[in-house]
């Protein structure tokens, strides 16, 4: 038995138990290659080694606290990372994932999809479900007992831990510790992103990594300036003034279109914790804080003042389109949307940094989740898992490889042309290169490559916000209740927020909702986190 390089490994007690004991069993798991899932009780696992890719040197290097690396230009000669077809012999690979853009033409009428099959040496049968309906679709597919080969598991899935450990393959023997080096691009996914894939002593999925910066309040800076408003509000009052100044119902424009996004943003100004606050081993949920209640009350006042799009409550607004055409002036979205928005709409996309509510500097911004979601592999035999992981590895090939260029832009000449060293999608490319491959597996994000001014703006935003970043103290701790009941618990909160903000219920209703949340599992989750933290120490 080879002695594993302990120093490079990160041992994590996922479900509690003495750290020493946990580390010991993790060693066993890694060396013995045991695939038996161990649910409940103490378990630990050797997380995959982190071997960042060295294919390209960024123009703006990443920082230690999590500001993303930036690129102004595409690498001139992308390397071809795979000499063989990664999916050779895999036949048809069924995939279930979500999609955020219109569904592309089917494989038969999509040259990009056909070329993808050709390059992979396998056929991808992708079921694409709109993100809003994804949880229902996923739950139904799981209940049907017929999982596809690769399934995107959303964080809010009920009984997530059990679904993963019982229905999905334990990947520890393939990815744990140094084993992941066989899949170099999966190895370049940072360790933090792997945390949500580990349950009961095994790794049960591949994460879709995300940077720490999280959700951004995208702002139509052009509109702000055109109205002579301040694009850098210094307090809540300033922000409110900007929102009011932008709203013009007669001109079909409103400041906001997302209740949740505004509550979170106002909450950031008021100092609401990121999901949990931990003080001396005691956990307090963000929902239990006065600041959060105040954030909801203020959002409700904004709603009453008509700052929200009138159809906000239906929850089916196409936020990006409405932002692009000027119906919405603010649109909170993941940081990755910055490029998408800027490339899709001919408008100036900016971002508003949350000030402290009463002024006096930048508020502490919430860290984003380390993974958008995770992709699990159905339980199957070893060689099939290896094939599927090779495909995942291919899908994670980063900037600087020809695989990346193909994944993002298709075939040069057909789907894109190089103009000034940057790929520009052709009309065919805009239609066909829309497969949601980035929601199966993806390389860690970087800023750009793109327009220097945009990359600089994004970088400036991150340099301002990332140093303030507020992490979720429960990240890396495991609570069965929080995992399994994520959907139910969020629903209680979301429903109450909508009821209050829409004016259907008074702000006092919030206390009832929080009580219901505590009974439904909030208190249990708190206890589990507190125990997990105590066990870890």
């Amino acid at each position: 038995m080879r002695n594993p390089p302990l120093s490079r490994r990160r041992f994590l007690a996922m479900t509690g138990g003495a750290a020493a004991l946990a580390a010991g069993s993790g060693l066993l798991a890694a060396c013995g290659g045991s695939t038996a899932p161990r649910t409940g009780g103490a378990g630990s696992v050797a997380m995959p080694d982190y071997v960042p890719t060295t294919l390209v040197t960024p123009d703006l290097p990443a920082t230690a606290d999590g500001v993303m690396a930036g690129f102004y230009r595409y690498p001139a000669n992308p390397a071809t990372a795979f000499t063989t077809k990664p999916g050779e012999g895999a036949g048809t690979v069924s995939i279930l994932t979500n999609i955020l853009n219109p569904v592309p033409p089917s494989a038969g009428a999509n040259a990009y999809w056909q070329e993808l099959h050709n390059r992979l040496g396998a056929t991808l049968d992708i079921t694409m479900t709109p993100q809003a309906d994804y949880l229902s679709k996923l739950s139904t597919v799981i209940a049907s007992g017929d999982l596809p080969d690769l399934t995107l598991i959303s964080a809010r899935l009920a009984h997530k831990a059990d679904v993963l450990t019982r229905l999905c393959a334990d990947l520890s023997e393939f990815l744990g510790g140094s084993a992941v080096r066989q899949y170099p691009f999966l190895a370049s996914i940072p360790t933090d992103a792997w945390l949500p894939t580990a349950y009961g002593g095994g790794i049960f999925a591949v994460p879709i990594p995300r940077a720490v910066v999280g959700t951004i309040m995208f702002t139509r800076t052009d509109l702000v300036r055109a109205r002579g408003l301040d694009p850098e509000p210094a307090s809540y009052a300033d922000f409110l003034a900007v929102a009011k100044g932008l709203t013009d119902a007669r001109g079909n424009r409103w400041a906001f279109g997302s209740v949740k996004g505004v509550i979170t943003f106002v909450g950031t100004m008021l100092g609401v914790p990121n999901v949990w606050r931990e003080e001396g081993g005691r956990f307090t949920s963000e929902h239990e804080t006065e600041e959060r209640k105040e954030a909801i009350a203020r959002t409700a006042r904004m709603f009453a003042d008509g700052l929200f799009h009138p159809d906000t409550m239906g929850g089916r607004l196409q936020g990006r389109d409405l932002f692009g055409n000027g119906t919405l002036a603010f649109n909170p979205d993941g940081y990755a949307a910055w490029d998408t928005l800027a490339k899709t709409y001919p408008v100036e996309v900016g971002a508003t940094v949350a000030p402290k509510a009463d002024g006096g500097g930048t508020a502490r911004h919430r860290a984003g989740t380390t993974a958008f979601a995770i992709t699990a592999i159905k339980k199957t035999d070893k060689s099939r898992i290896e094939q599927l992981l090779r495909i995942c590895d291919w899908l994670a090939a980063p900037l600087g490889t020809s695989e990346y260029m193909f994944r993002k832009f298709g075939v040069e000449g057909t789907h894109y042309t190089m103009e000034d060293g940057a790929p520009v999608l052709t009309d065919k490319g805009k239609v066909e290169v829309k497969l949601p491959l980035e929601y199966v597996v993806d390389a860690p994000h970087v800023l750009g490559p793109g327009d220097r001014a945009r990359v600089d703006a994004q970088r400036a935003y991150q340099e301002k916000v990332v140093p303030t970043i507020l992490r979720n103290p429960a990240e890396g701790l495991y609570s069965a209740t929080a995992t399994d009941k994520a959907g139910e618990l969020s629903k209680i909160i979301d429903t109450a927020e909508l009821d209050i903000v829409s004016g259907r219920k008074p702000i006092g209703h919030w206390d009832e909702a929080v009580a219901a949340w505590r009974t439904a599992g909030g208190d249990a989750a708190r206890a589990e986190y507190e125990k997990a933290l105590a066990d870890k120490a």
């Binding site: 139904t140 009920a158 059990d162 019982r166 229905l167 159809d311 409550m313 239906g314 929850g315 259907r504």
Partner: protein, 333 residues
């Protein structure tokens, strides 16, 4: 109304009504059975796919109701899940407020559907039947049928686009300082909204079965009324309505069976806009608690009770129909 449900339920009923054997076929019982098989084999063959469909998609899944008594988890098979007795029924017998809210909403919507929505196709059919010009009738019918073929997603989207708070009218009204219509996303107007949607979408389609019944009326009956000096109202009252009475009763019985089922798709699509208090019905409750929250057992228990209540109502209504001398859904004779 859902004609497919009608067809599915009516078909076995029709099969279950044994035609009196023709007098010529007086043979020993055994032979009679075989003889009839030989005579009807083709008809039976035609009925077979339908029967298979009903068994496969209506009867076999009934066995799945067993999870109402189990702590079912999607990653376990039905057999592995532990038995929990009536634990899943607690929301019902302990009266979980969310369940009671869903039940109340369901009953209110159902009542409105029976009182307001159900008679509309009948009135419409009478109206159509009184049209003399065959051409006009066909055009009107086609226009009325059309919405039935749109899915609820489209219907809801059309209402949203036209009457939504940022829809066609309100955008225009806002630009011209006219009063706004706050119809969609208004919890107080949710009931009238879904009722009018249901009428707009399906009333035309619902007329088909009544028109068919009316077309069977012997013209001589109308003539007889005319001869006796009766006007149009008399004809309506003494000929047309009695002719379609059995169909009305049949559909009403079926409707009663559906009393706890009030249009899942239509409501879930519009739920977020008005909140759960106004819009949660049993079907959405089962979906939200079962599929979304992962409480499959509890959702199945509620669904099971719903089914049992529906069955009870159908049987009771059928019994009452028999007492009034109607054939009802099925009959013993």
């Amino acid at each position: 109304m859902a004609p497919t449900e009608l067809a599915a339920t009516a078909a076995p009923a029709a099969r279950g009504t044994p035609d009196a054997p023709p007098p010529a076929a007086r043979r020993p019982r055994q032979a009679s059975w075989r003889w009839r098989l030989r005579r009807d084999w083709f008809l039976l063959l035609l009925g077979l796919p339908g029967l298979l469909l009903v068994v496969l998609f209506h009867y076999v899944p009934l066995a799945g109701n067993v999870i109402a008594f189990k702590d079912y988890r999607p990653y376990l098979t039905v057999w592995e899940a532990p038995w929990v007795g009536f634990e899943n029924f607690r929301v019902i017998y302990e009266g979980d407020p969310a369940f009671l809210n869903a039940l109340t909403n369901t009953l209110v919507i159902s009542l409105i559907q029976i009182v307001v929505v159900f008679p509309v196709p009948i009135a419409l059919a009478l109206l159509l039947n009184s049209l003399l010009s065959e051409r006009v009738k066909r055009v009107v019918q086609s226009v009325l049928y059309l919405p039935h073929f749109m899915s609820w997603v489209v219907v809801v989207a059309v209402f949203q686009q036209l009457l939504g708070n940022a829809g066609l009218y309100n955008t225009w009204a806002r630009a011209h300082d006219l009063p706004l219509l706050h119809l969609i996303g208004n919890a107080d107007l949710f009931l009238p909204l879904i009722t009018s949607q249901a009428i707009w979408k399906d009333a035309g389609w619902g007329t088909i079965i009544f028109l068919a019944a009316m077309s069977r009326v012997d013209l001589e009956l109308y003539e007889a009324v005319a001869v006796d000096g009766g006007g149009r109202m008399r004809q309506l009252w003494h000929v047309t309505l009695p002719a379609i009475r059995s169909v009305i009763v049949l559909l009403l019985i079926l409707k009663l069976g559906d009393v706890l089922t009030v249009g899942f798709e239509q409501i879930i699509l519009q739920q977020a806009a008005v909140g759960q208090d106004a819009s949660e019905v049993l079907d959405t409750y089962v979906y939200n608690r079962g599929i979304i929250d992962g409480n499959f057992g509890m959702a199945a228990a509620v669904g099971l009770v719903k089914g049992v209540v529906g069955l009870g109502l159908v049987l009771a209504a059928n019994k009452i129909a028999h007492l009034f001398g109607e054939r009802g859904l099925y009959s013993r004779w």
